[in-house]
């Protein structure tokens, strides 16, 4: 029954030549080929060369990979990337969850507040970076420093001190990504059967118990998706770091992508940079596949 209905929805029939659907796919496939797959293949090819467009490339095999894996700056950068990705993922999810709990419901005013809260996600990352640069102005007259001075703190140097720079960048990331997580969690919350809450309430469960035993288990699929997305996003973090600090001060916020960028465009080492990109791609691939595999296994149980 279910199968027949789905067929009718997509309108596919057994009539007509088999290649027609492929013909429809072809334009998209061609665009993907030209703008995605060929450049990717080219990147992988370049990672094996010392790239010099006007003098001729030199084949170096896996030397670029070896150089990167031994490069202290790349190792520091990968550590920063992991810390940043982890912190932003968890931070954004916790804040997003709290926001979702606060803003759940159907009231008109809630709809407005939710849209307002969602704004950071829509704004361009470069713009956000510039604005937060202003907020983070490290002297007492800076915006954030003025705020925290009301409660007797500061002035702090935020992104300008090697001890706090990474945390400050992380904070901006959480601020930007939490509303996105909120929206997905809201959708998950809407799918929870109200009767479960009522039943729990009748049994005398406290709010915390209800969240722990009803809400969180019901949100598990949403959380898995969010984790996967956030991990990929976190590993590829670039714009906010580049605009906020450029990887400084003293390389304290250098992440994998800013390193790749510097290597390619400051040092003109396109081959090395390609190798770095390929490595990042492989790590992301392994991570995504293992999360999927883990989830399938759990679901199968």
């Amino acid at each position: 029954m279910r199968r027949r209905r789905r067929r009718r929805l997509t309108g596919a029939t057994s009539k007509g030549p088999a290649w027609v659907p492929w013909l429809f796919l072809l334009p998209a496939a061609l665009i993907f080929l030209v703008f995605k797959f060929i450049p990717m293949a080219e990147g992988i090819r370049l990672s094996l060369f010392e790239v010099r467009p006007f003098l001729g490339d030199i084949y170096v095999g896996f030397e670029n990979y070896a150089t990167i894996l031994q490069d202290e700056k790349f190792l520091t950068a990968s550590w920063h990337t992991i810390v940043l990705a982890g912190g932003q993922t968890i931070g954004a999810m916790v804040i997003g969850f709290l926001l979702a709990l606060l803003l759940e419901g159907h009231t008109k005013s809630l709809w407005f507040v939710r849209s307002a809260v969602f704004l950071p996600v829509v704004a361009a990352t470069a713009v956000i970076g510039e604005i937060w640069r202003l907020f983070f102005y490290p002297a007492p007259e800076g915006f954030l420093n003025e705020l925290i001075s009301w409660v007797g703190l500061g002035p702090w140097e935020y992104i300008h001190d090697t001890d706090t720079s990474l945390v400050s960048v992380m904070f901006v990331g959480i601020w930007k990504h939490a509303p996105y997580d909120m929206v997905l969690i809201l959708a998950g919350l809407a799918g929870i059967d109200r009767q479960q809450y009522e039943a729990a309430a009748i049994d005398g469960a406290s709010t915390w118990q209800r969240i722990r035993s009803v809400t969180l288990p019901a949100l598990r699929p949403v959380i898995t998706i969010l984790l996967t997305l956030a991990a990929i996003r976190g590993l590829r973090v670039f714009t906010e770091v580049y605009v906020l600090t450029g990887g400084g001060p003293a390389g304290s916020t250098d992440v994998w992508m800013t390193r790749v960028y510097t290597t390619a465009f400051e040092q003109s080492e396109a081959g090395l940079a390609s190798a770095g990109s390929v490595l990042l791609f492989l790590v992301t691939l392994v991570l995504t596949v293992s999360v999927q595999w883990y989830r399938r296994r759990r679901e199968a149980r």
Partner: protein, 438 residues
């Protein structure tokens, strides 16, 4: 019927796409001699207007059409992107600092100095800006400059301090600007020195090199015959860096946030009265006259350190890029840009000149500018300025030096000599790489 329509639509769209792909052969523009000459300059909107005028009179004189693109942000990166697709612009006007990289990558073509019409009018010192490590020329100079110190005159006079002539006086003035409320607004919100201290493009090394030289130190010491030795860990260099570290870490007279500032973000902090001392090129004089006020700041030669008042003196070059089908037009444009007429037009740019100091010896700085501040700049250039050494590619040295200095000023170690030793080893390795070590 409906099925046939669908098939037709699909076929047509694929056909259209294929046709679209076929017609666009990339990298065609430079191979086509009928296209106008593509010229890039590293310019803001204001200076682009000056270039436009110059190119317009060039076209009127020679009939060569110019397709002009001013680019300011990430200039080198954009050149690089074009190089990657083997389609460079025909002519590029940018910093002398790009020379090493351009030569190493084969992006710029060799220039025979004696074949350039009017080349004899260009002063020897300027020609050196276009000289590669092999002694051949790879670019024609267009503009030169020397770093000068800009000081908020009204602040200095309010605090009753003299124009600094030594490091001690300069540091003292910076401390006074930071602590004694020079703008008189009752708040402790001003700072001594403004430093574009980001490691992006190695800015910090650009700024610090003048002070290192003034202390008798050096990043690389020229040993002659294209060979160099590392000088960044010498006692003199270490002492010079120590002084800067002290200004950052102990006296705290530097503009907060300096270590992530590029020049673009730095200029407004001088303009808005945050910092009072700024070691920079003279190219901002016109803009600061409008934003700060001509009477509110002064342009002075850098105060003397233990070993003198040496400052960085570089400039801009005309690069005739590789792979162009219009070599004759490239040359024509370069030859026009070094004429007295074009140089003067470049100096008269409003609000900012694109030629700071002329490379053509027939142009009189004083007569053209009629401004004693530019006479100061010319004086500093002729007596105190020196360029970065012409190793095959200075960019990696600049980059590594700026990263280490950034780290020293950010982390404030008790003593910077250990970090400088590590840097010296890295620079030595790079010299070996470039086959420029002894």
């Amino acid at each position: 019927m409906r099925r046939r329509t669908a098939t037709t639509i699909a076929t047509l769209s694929v056909a259209a796409l294929l046709a679209g792909c076929g017609s666009s052969t990339p990298a065609a523009s430079n191979k086509d001699p009928n296209k106008p000459l593509e010229v890039w300059t590293r310019s803001t909107e204001a200076t682009a207007k000056v270039y436009e005028k110059i190119f317009k009179s060039f076209t009127e004189k020679t009939g060569v059409q110019v397709d002009y693109k001013p680019i300011f942000n990430d200039f080198d990166k954009q050149v690089q992107q074009r190089a990657a697709s083997k389609d460079l612009p025909d002519v590029v006007v940018t910093d002398t600092g790009s020379l090493g990289n351009f030569v190493k990558q084969g992006w710029t073509t060799e220039v025979k100095r004696e074949d350039v019409a009017g080349g004899a009018d260009v002063v020897d010192r300027a020609w050196n800006n276009g000289k590669g490590a092999d002694g051949k020329f790879y670019a024609i100079p267009f503009s030169t400059q020397a770093m000068v110190t800009l000081i908020r005159k009204d602040w200095r006079e309010k605090l009753g301090k003299p124009i600094p002539t030594t490091w001690e006086e300069l540091d003292d003035l910076a401390k006074a600007f930071t602590r004694n409320d020079p703008d008189g607004n009752g708040q402790n919100d001003t700072y001594g020195m403004l430093v574009p201290g980001t490691t992006d493009r190695g800015y910090l090394a650009w700024w610090a090199s003048s002070y290192i030289w003034q202390g008798g130190g050096d990043i690389l010491e020229d040993e002659g015959d294209g060979k160099f030795a590392v000088g960044i860990d010498s006692p003199e260099s270490t002492k010079a860096v120590e002084r800067l570290r002290k200004l950052f870490c102990e006296d705290k007279v530097m503009q907060p946030g300096s270590l992530t500032l590029g020049t673009n973000d730095a200029h407004p902090l001088f303009e808005s009265g945050k910092s009072g001392i700024y070691l920079t090129g003279p190219y901002m004089i016109g803009r600061f006259d409008k934003s700060v006020g001509k009477d509110k700041y002064e342009v002075v030669a850098s105060p003397r350190g233990p070993a003198g008042a040496t400052v960085l003196g570089e400039g801009e070059n005309i690069y005739q890029m590789a792979g162009s089908a219009k070599t004759a037009d490239q040359r024509k444009l370069a030859e026009y840009l070094i004429t007295a007429e074009a140089q003067q037009a470049g100096m008269k740019g409003d609000p900012q000149p694109v030629v700071r100091l002329p490379v053509n010896k027939n142009v009189d700085v004083n007569a053209t500018y009629d401004d004693p501040r530019w006479a100061t700049v010319a004086g500093v250039y002729s007596s105190e300025a020196r360029p970065f050494p012409s190793v095959p590619n200075f960019a990696p040295f600049r980059q590594k030096t700026s990263e280490t200095l950034n780290s020293i000023f950010a982390k404030c170690p008790a003593d910077s000599s250990a970090e400088l030793k590590t840097l010296a080893e890295a620079l030595k390795k790079e010299l070996d790489n470039q086959k420029a070590s002894q």
